[in-house]
């Protein structure tokens, strides 16, 4: 069914809105809209416009509604924004509510075969003859559904002034120069563009235009690709994983990047192994085994996988085995909302395991930090001989972010305190006559020395066990042995405080309140602070980049009357950790926690502080 639209009043656009609006594309999952959306965002990015794309997709392969939200912000604000100025409706199931969601003065592009009941007076409509255009394009039946989405690319390009040359570049990039699909899609885009040019009166106010000053020195990438690339350049040698959204693409990207860059030149053999395990429990078991044997080993998973890993992580803490665990957080226990984001695993990751234990947790805020922290995580895991978490989330992991170009890692790999056969020989002499013991703290930092299997020395071997042990790794059930070992592990964790990435502080003269946050909330915090400043409320900001916290965090909190702890979970998990770690400062801390599956917005954060 199609609806005829009233003739748009031939009004003069009084004010153009350039590079500053929100465009939302509603499609059905599995309809191939990803390519179309990528073309839009990539061409806008290449025009120098600060842009961000958030994919709101269902846990489903085909049919359920999906939205792709593209925000353009000439001022460089890249958080999720709730207001939608431009709606592209391609899905009949949601078209009614999608049309309602547009702000007054906004515009709506829609597939003219959708059942559209009534029209709002305060928005402009652009029906697109998708079926007719696809029919005219003469493509095989199976491909029709896919190219149909190219129609809105062409119409949007005309209405918004997106450079067609950049759309073509994006298409070439997307299909890696393969002429067939490029030609197929390009002819559809141009057909739609030409139709729009000939048919539409473009008197709506939204326009894009090339700009500079923001996208230079950046890349447009998702955090999982970045983490994968970072791990490949961090010299990982072993990875084991089990598929789970939103982490699968991290392992899959590793497979692709490693195949391109990690072959021994002479033999073309792999300098790494990536194993798809039978479950997450086996994945972490393999990683622990590989780390014990001297590999740089990692796994990537999400919440449900973390649950299965609990016993091994606790074991790794106690037996002091390096391991890196990427948790790309999603919502809830078991399946929860597997395609929605959250920061709900913080407490679980920090304390995972039974008995006493705590683990360093790295908190990347964007793809660039995913790249960098891939190295940091390995260095820390091997330096501290313990499992280290990297807590990303679906928003960072699977959405495209404009992120600082990655720089080549300059620091050498830190392989930690691993003794060679020669060093074993010299150990006594170099350590005041003390014989080497696997769990003996000779340096006072709580970190013992280890050997790896295969070390050619008669005294290199030791027995790794979850049971009680002495500093010499022999079995012990003595109370004092157990307690001393636990105290040493606590000492080691204190050492970790000064080794993990320090927080990033932005302090403002005259600010009496501050925001403390982490990870993917960063763009929303940045924008909220700007809004607050406009309202006369200057704020300082501490972005935590790791647990355990260091002394800077305490000093920061002490300097402000109120510190809002902003996080994307229900219970205020970071807030709870800070309460325990900063006794005496609890009255200054205010929890601002929200969990609805979406990235936090600047509006919500601002409200927490002003209301």
């Amino acid at each position: 069914m199609s609806v005829t639209v009233q003739e748009a009043p031939a009004k003069q656009v009084s004010q153009w809105v350039y590079n500053d609006f929100n465009l939302n594309v509603a499609t059905a999952n599995g309809s191939g809209s990803q390519t179309s959306n990528n073309l839009l965002i990539r061409s806008l990015y290449k025009m120098g416009i600060p842009v961000t794309g958030k994919n709101l997709f269902p846990s489903n392969i085909q049919g359920l509604p999906t939205w792709y939200n593209i925000r353009l912000s000439k001022d460089g604000f890249l958080a999720r924004r709730e207001r939608v100025e431009i709606m592209i409706c391609m899905n009949g199931a949601t078209v009614a509510e999608d049309m309602e969601s547009v702000v007054p003065g906004g515009i709506i592009l829609y597939d003219d075969s959708l059942p559209v009941a009534n029209h709002r007076k305060d928005v402009q409509y652009y029906p697109m003859p998708v079926k007719a255009l696809v029919k005219a394009a003469d493509v095989t039946y199976t491909l029709q559904r896919y190219v149909a989405n190219m129609v809105y690319v062409g119409v949007a390009a005309f209405l918004l002034d997106i450079e067609m040359a950049e759309i073509k570049n994006a298409l070439d990039w997307n299909f890696d120069g393969k002429p067939k699909p490029i030609q197929l899609n390009w002819s559809m885009v141009t057909a739609a563009y030409e139709w729009a040019q000939q048919t539409l009166v473009n008197d709506q106010p939204y326009r894009v235009r090339r700009m500079s000053g923001f996208n230079e020195g950046t890349v447009l990438i998702d955090g999982n690709s970045a983490g994968a690339l970072g791990s490949v350049f961090a010299g990982f040698t072993f990875a084991a994983w089990y598929p789970i959204t939103p982490s699968s693409s991290l392992a899959e990207s590793m497979i692709s990047y490693a195949a391109q860059t990690r072959r021994e030149p002479e033999t073309q053999k792999a300098t790494y192994a990536i194993v798809q395990a039978e479950d997450e429990l086996a994945a972490i078991g393999m990683v622990i085994g590989a780390g014990w044997a001297g590999a740089r080993a990692l796994t990537a998973t999400s919440g449900p996988g973390i649950s299965l890993m609990a016993e091994f992580i606790g074991f790794g803490y106690f037996t002091e085995i390096p391991a890196v665990i990427w948790d790309i957080q999603r919502m809830g226990p078991s399946t929860g909302l597997p395609t929605r984001t959250s920061q709900g695993d913080l407490l679980a990751a920090y304390f995972l395991g039974h008995g006493d234990g705590r683990h360093p947790v790295l908190l990347p805020a964007d793809p660039t930090e995913c790249f960098e922290m891939a190295s940091t995580a390995f260095d820390l895991a091997e330096r501290l001989q313990t499992p280290v978490f990297v807590l990303s989330d679906l928003d960072i992991g699977m959405n495209l972010w404009i992120s600082k170009e990655f720089s080549y890692p300059e620091t050498p790999l830190d392989r930690g305190k691993v003794l060679t056969a020669q060093q074993l020989d010299a150990f006594k002499e170099e350590h005041n006559g003390q014989r080497w013991g696997r769990y003996l703290d000779v340096d006072g930092d709580g970190i013992p020395y280890r050997t790896v299997p295969g070390t050619d020395h008669p005294a290199a071997a030791y027995f790794t066990r979850g049971t009680g042990h002495t500093p010499y790794a022999t079995y012990s059930e003595r109370a004092s042995d157990w307690e001393n070992n636990l105290q040493r592990l606590a000492r080691k964790f204190e050492t970790a405080r000064s080794l993990v990435p320090a927080p990033i502080l932005q302090e403002v003269d005259g600010a009496r309140i501050a925001i403390l946050s982490m990870g993917s909330n960063h763009p929303a915090v940045v924008e909220a602070r700007s809004r607050l400043l406009d309202q006369g409320i200057p704020t300082s900001y501490l972005r935590l980049r790791a647990l355990p916290i260091n002394s800077e965090v305490r000093a920061f909190v002490e300097r402000y009357e109120r510190v809002y702890v902003v996080e994307n979970n229900r219970d205020g998990q970071l807030y709870e950790i800070l309460l325990t770690e900063l006794p005496g400062l609890s009255t200054r801390l205010v929890s601002a926690a929200k969990c609805d599956g979406l990235p936090l917005s600047a509006r919500w954060i601002t409200e927490q502080i002003t209301q």
Partner: protein, 347 residues
């Protein structure tokens, strides 16, 4: 130097590395006196010593249980990893991929393998991870004091656990179904056979499953149990007489009429002397049938049921460098500046 010693002390026997057998011992066992597991440890010590394994090249793995404690009691100069209950397979997979030159010897229990660990066990078999996998099978949970395991006999009665109403799992059949390349059963009381099987298992380039009936003298050693000493001694039926001929042994093997020789990956061989039957351990259907019949008739049939020495091991399949992954340097594992620049340019 005395010219004519009155009595010569008998020179201790030395292995190819010039070591005495005692050099292959571990810590003192803390298991119950007479526990079958200790006999198996003694066989592992003997096999490693006779083969002249360098202990630094060996890694020992286990899960949790009385059986899984035993790696502490042999090969004291080898790294050992007493992991989690049922999770030895994943740990050993990671370690052996990280360092492909290591010789892996794993010890598990029937609870550890057939109950909590059956999933990981079958995937380890399926991947053909190159290691020895000994199941010290006593049909009971020793360490947690006498509960039934998944290999306990149907209708068997235990002092505390009562009567077992469930069918047992047969570890050899499970291994075979998961495409194992080396499947054997033995009895802790059969030192000679166990020696030969352990050596062949060590020489095998792939996963070698050894299901060894190992009586728990404390919880499951009464005569009615198929996992007791009495039962084993009386009813063990060897399929063949086994001997292992190492690759360096200069003796030419002349295959006797009643002998079959199976060549192993490293040039050594396992010689099977027929015992009144015509068992061919490369015939998988025969292996299935033989195991199933033994299971139905509750016969303790021992020997090598199936062997396939040519299948690539997991490490071969991965196509990794000859240098152990764990020993690769930064120069070998961090791609170049240009490689990053190229990838960035493509983004």
């Amino acid at each position: 130097m005395t010219a004519t010693p009155t009595r010569t002390a008998r020179a201790p026997k030395l292995n190819p590395l010039g070591l005495e057998k005692t050099a292959y011992k571990g810590a003192d066992s803390t298991l119950c006196n007479g526990c079958g597991h200790d006999s198996i440890s003694a066989r592992i010590i003997n096999a490693a010593w006779e083969m002249g394994l360098k202990q630094q090249d060996v890694v020992k793995f286990s899960g949790i249980g009385c059986s899984s404690k035993t790696p502490a009691y042999f090969l004291g100069m080898s790294h050992g990893f007493n992991s989690l209950h049922g999770r030895m397979p994943s740990v050993s997979t990671g370690a052996l991929v990280a360092n492909r030159t290591l010789i892996g010897i794993g010890v598990s229990g029937d609870g550890d393998t057939a109950s909590i660990g059956i999933g990981q066990f079958k995937h380890l078999v399926r991947r053909n991870v190159p290691m020895v996998y000994v199941v010290e099978n006593n049909g009971v949970y020793g360490l947690t004091k006498g509960q039934f395991s998944a290999t306990a006999d149907l209708n068997q009665t235990l002092k505390y656990a009562g009567t077992n109403p469930y069918m047992p799992l047969d570890i050899c059949l499970e291994a075979l179904a998961a495409n194992a390349t080396f499947v054997a059963r033995s009895f802790a009381g059969d030192a000679k056979q166990l020696d030969a099987l352990l050596k062949a298992a060590i020489a095998h380039n792939g996963l070698a499953v050894l299901d060894v009936i190992s009586p728990c003298v404390t919880f499951n050693n009464h005569e009615s149990s198929t996992k007791s000493y009495a039962f084993g001694k009386e009813f063990e039926i060897p399929l063949h007489e086994l001997s292992f001929v190492p690759s360096y042994d200069p003796i030419e093997i002349t295959e006797e009429a009643d002998e079959t020789e199976v060549k192993l990956h490293d040039g050594s061989s396992l010689v099977l002397k027929r015992l009144g039957n015509d068992y061919d351990p490369t015939d998988k259907y025969l292996a299935y049938r033989t195991l199933e019949e033994a299971r139905q008739q509750q016969k303790l049939l021992t020997g090598i049921f199936y062997i396939e020495p040519q299948t690539p091991s997991f490490v071969d399949t991965l196509q990794i460098t000859d240098t152990p992954l764990a020993q690769l340097s930064q120069a070998q594992t961090r791609p170049s500046r240009e490689a990053l620049a190229q990838l960035m340019a493509k983004l």
